[in-house]
């Protein structure tokens, strides 16, 4: 029994255990301080910065303070930091090979943060995915799609592929592609389209609507009519303008044609014989 107590007293008297405890306390203190200081910084800068910068400030300050405490704790444990850093260099190469994807995402993340093609809260389209940016992290960007799904896109693929930011500029253009029958008067068609745009309050008066004659189509004269809207009203205008154009064309007797096919029998053959028949039941 006495031996046991002696062991415990020796163990507690041993310098090493206190060093370990000090190092552990330093790390815990580091976490607490880093959290407190980064939260305080966010509160101080809350009104002056956008979400993106606030996030950078929070993470930057947190990791900086934490790493300082971690270094002190390693010193406390008796590590020689210059040797450790040298060893870390060798390790980095090894780890770099082992975790190529993560490292590539990490570097891409840094580029994304520096380039700022979008910020938190923007709506972006990557490939076929469109959604609101929830966060821009070191490895990935998180999106919330409009059908309320959470999508994680690796930073590497964002850097490599085409990303469209839908909420960058204040106004957007709605392109209406419409075909009218060959018999229609294009001046009248254009005047009707202008009147529709003029009457719709969501359609901006300036920039003026754009009228482009696209082509002599197979069955129709193809026209592009582009109108501008405030970004927030884009969908409303897209819905209303198509409906109004259809109604205005109906009112003015302008035909939106279906594909037409004229069957031609060729120059060598006679015309198709056409027979008019009575609308009566055939004899059985």
């Amino acid at each position: 029994m006495n031996e046991f107590w002696t062991d415990i007293v020796n163990f507690l008297n041993n310098e090493n255990i206190w060093i370990l405890i000090r190092a552990f306390v330093l790390i815990v203190m580091g976490i607490v301080f880093a959290k407190l200081i980064s939260a305080a910084l966010i509160k101080l800068a809350g009104n002056k910065m956008d979400n993106h910068r606030l996030m950078l400030l929070k993470r930057g300050s947190y990791y900086l303070i934490f790493i300082l405490f971690l270094i002190s704790s390693l010193r406390e444990l008796g590590f020689n930091l210059s040797i450790l850093l040298g060893a870390a260099g060798v390790f980095t190469v090894a780890i770099g090979f082992a975790s190529q994807t993560s490292a590539s995402n990490l570097i891409s993340g840094l580029f994304l943060v520096a380039e700022r093609p979008f910020t938190i809260g923007d709506i972006i389209r990557v490939g076929t995915t469109t959604g609101e940016v929830l966060s821009i992290d070191l490895l990935s960007v998180k999106l919330r799609t409009f059908d309320n799904l959470f999508v994680r896109i690796p930073n590497e693929s964002l850097i490599k592929s085409e990303v469209t930011t839908l909420t960058r500029f204040p106004i957007r253009r709605v392109d209406v592609l419409v075909g009218v029958a060959y018999k229609e008067d294009l001046k009248k068609v254009r005047a009707t389209l202008d009147e529709v745009a003029n009457k719709n309050p969501l359609c901006l008066e300036e920039p003026k609507p754009l009228y482009v004659f696209l082509s002599f189509g197979e069955s129709s004269l193809d026209i592009q009519y582009s109108v501008w809207a405030k970004r927030e009203n884009f969908l409303d205008l897209k819905n209303s303008i198509h409906e109004e154009i259809k109604n205005a064309f109906d009112e003015n007797g302008i035909e939106i044609p279906f594909p037409h096919r004229t069957i031609y029998t060729g120059i060598e053959t006679k015309p198709f014989p056409v027979t008019s028949i009575d609308n009566k039941q055939p004899d059985k």
């Binding site: 719709n200 309050p201 300036e206």
Partner: protein, 266 residues
Amino acid sequence: MSFETSEQSTWWGKFKLEIEQNKEWHVGPLKLIVRRLKNEWQIAHESADDFDSTDFSWEIKSTDQQPGSFNNNSRYILHDTAGQLIVTPKLADRPIVSRPHIPFNLAAGEEIILYVSTPLWVELEVGSTPLKSIAIQRLSDTWFGPSTLEGDFCYASTTHCRLNFEDLPRRSHRAITPVLIRNKSKTTLLLERLNLPIPLLPLYTSSIGQLWTPLITLTREKDGDMAELKIDDKPPTETDITEKISDARDKTNTNVLFRAFNTVFS
């Protein structure tokens, strides 16, 4: 603002409604119905699309029509016992872009006064609780700026600015703003579109109930779209102003450089 009298001289002011009473306003293209119930107010409104009247008249009457029959109707729960509705005319909440009938050139060193009429909003309050702000006429949106990247959202005026005050029709649902344009730059100013900072203006009424804003002075010192803006702190002198009806929506500094003209320079 005066209390409702037997002979109401303006369409705004304070109105007393009994429980289960409906009141109907006709001001310009707007038809507005307000119904008071016990602890509840109902507001319904509609605006005619093609309204092109130069008529000054307006009408307030009791009605049996129910707000529920309108597309635009809203209900407000309020424990209010006084039953007093305050109707206030307000100016637009965004700048308004107006055009002269035919664009004109203002030579260097010249100045001119234009008259612009802009439609009003109706603000409804019970006690001190604001209920709703309704545009008498829904104006089309427009963009005023040098490119699609830079500029401001404005409303596009459906009427033209006039050179002669007498040419401007008097309408009870619109306010008149006199604008003095001074071209102090060395080039001619071709005036095609004029942007007016309507939210910065207060509203006055004349003795006949025509609403006015103070004179705006736009001084163009250099080439370009920008003008120095000055808003008079006294009512306009063109008419006999009797009362200030409402303050400006936006009370920020009014002595600023303002993008007022969208022009092609000759």
